[in-house]
Symmetry: C2
Subunit: 124 residues, 2 copies
Amino acid sequence: MQDNEANQAGQPRTEQSSVDEYPEELQSSQRSGERRDDNTIYIGRKSVSVYALAVVTQFNQGRPIVKLKARGRSISHAVDVTQVVMHRFIPTLKIGEIKITTEELPSEDGRMNKVSSMEIELSK
Amino acid sequence: MQDNEANQAGQPRTEQSSVDEYPEELQSSQRSGERRDDNTIYIGRKSVSVYALAVVTQFNQGRPIVKLKARGRSISHAVDVTQVVMHRFIPTLKIGEIKITTEELPSEDGRMNKVSSMEIELSK
């Protein structure tokens, strides 16, 4: 076990760390149409409404399953997205499998940081 | 749908709101032995290690299942707890059912605020 684990997916941070988020190009690819993983929405710092609308749009395009992926603090944000979609847009929304893992990401000084990540599967 | 939903389980907050957390007496009851729900650990603002040790203690006392409950921003914290327990203490930890819901809590001005909540079931 690495010694830096205590600062990994662990201790609360006072500011949102950049490793908490998926890269901007991954997030923005959701709009550009060049999606890496078609039905996956990467949750970052935008408002819950933005992601909720992205989910609704994916379903409206006929996808049977939409996945939310979030890291670190954005995990709470992803959960908020599911609740806004369910209570405001798609009352029949079903929350399927929820996967929790740890990702290792290189920090600026070259060391590996661990950060919790979550994937939530949604269907109508 | 209530109009204040946008500010509920939704929009990012710059500061941790008090409605995000389970009451302190509920959290501290985890140590006093007077537990409301024996195998449930309420995640608040303490460090991940504190909650991770609480999980390990519960398992060591022979409980087959331990539940984590968290609200709002503490949801990310709860996920961190699962990962620290798994990677540092109990490699065989199994993450069982994960429930996501919205709770309504009265705010200081008497209105009801909505906040996302999550329950994670853990077994060895």
